[in-house]
């Protein structure tokens, strides 16, 4: 990729807005189209671009493969954890009303955490798939 100057420069300029847009989509899922699934994919594609431009070793210094694997499980754990937290506080599984001062505040907290769990898990799975394929390029 060293000869492709235009690709390198434009890619470098694009990675930060892509990641920012991914975070925007994640946290504004309540107010517009968006949510965890879309945000996880967009956030991952920012890192894909990084990996394609700068090479896999540099990407793996930022996002080690072990960390990405843990993120996959962390997302599901966060989601189920919100449900269990609701049970500990006395309500049914995944009943968000009890998570805040008022039921509406509890719903907001519940939805935010749950979508975050979804986003983290989807991001982890996309990066895992990318690393799995890319590792085979290097070896093959």
């Amino acid at each position: 990729m060293r000869h492709h100057l235009v690709l390198r420069v434009v890619g470098k300029l694009l990675v930060a807005p892509i990641l920012l847009f991914g975070l925007y989509v994640q946290f504004h899922g309540d107010y517009g189209p968006g949510g965890g699934f879309q945000a996880g994919v967009i956030f991952a594609s920012g890192f894909f671009l990084c990996g394609l431009i700068f090479g896999l070793e540099r990407l793996q210094r930022v996002l080690p493969e072990a960390m990405v694997r843990n993120l996959v499980a962390l997302g599901v754990l966060l989601f189920a954890g919100v449900g269990v937290a609701a049970m500990i506080l006395g309500a049914n599984f995944l009943d968000y009303d009890v998570l805040g001062g008022t039921p509406v505040a509890g719903q907001h907290v519940g939805i935010l955490l749950v979508e975050l769990g979804v986003g983290i898990s989807v991001f982890g799975v996309m990066m895992t798939a990318f690393y799995a394929f890319a590792a085979r390029w290097a070896g093959a």
Partner: protein
């Protein structure tokens, strides 16, 4: 105007699908499947399902194309030509398709307000989201709160897919 857009998009979908079936160059096929996903996303926008269109465009036209290109880097660009003609499967598919089209004559009008599917929980979700959940986006309210258990299942499916990829493709 709406009908024209619908017909145009569906016709482009059919042309893209035919081209995907008939091409042997896998790079062109991957690009065309990205275009197919983008056309499907446009159809979803025409149907007013913006969240779904967003997800389809991001996953289908974005990440899927990238991962398929990564696969092509490993397996090569040319597909083997098929060894036998597929006349019997084609006949089965055509008969099934015609039977399905015949079945749609019994369905209620598309999108009418008094369809049975709009009578049970949909009015409850639409009327009570503002007071019970307090978020403006009803799709997120249904996905994350009213039907949160189903979304937990979806995330578990994504997790299982990730585990499957790790089991099949890790080099160690």
């Amino acid at each position: 105007m709406d009908t024209f857009i619908d017909v145009a998009l569906l016709a482009l979908l059919a042309v893209t699908a035919y081209a995907i079936v008939r091409l042997h160059d896998m790079l062109a096929v991957v690009m065309l499947s990205g275009i197919y996903s983008l056309l499907s996303a446009a159809l979803f926008v025409v149907l007013d399902a913006v969240d779904v269109a967003f997800t389809e465009a991001a996953v289908g036209a974005g990440v899927s194309t990238l991962l398929l290109l990564a696969t092509l880097g490993l397996v090569g660009r040319e597909a083997r030509p098929p060894e036998h003609r597929a006349w019997l499967p084609l006949a089965v598919v055509i008969v099934t398709g015609l039977a399905l089209v015949y079945g749609t004559y019994d369905m209620p009008p598309f999108g009418a307000a008094d369809n049975p599917v709009q009578q049970h929980v949909a009015p409850h979700y639409l009327e009570h989201t503002a007071t019970e959940i307090g978020v403006p986006n009803v799709v997120t309210a249904v996905l994350a709160s009213y039907r949160g258990y189903d979304t937990l299942g979806e995330v578990s499916v994504v997790f299982t897919a990730g585990v499957g990829v790790l089991l099949l493709l890790r080099r160690r």
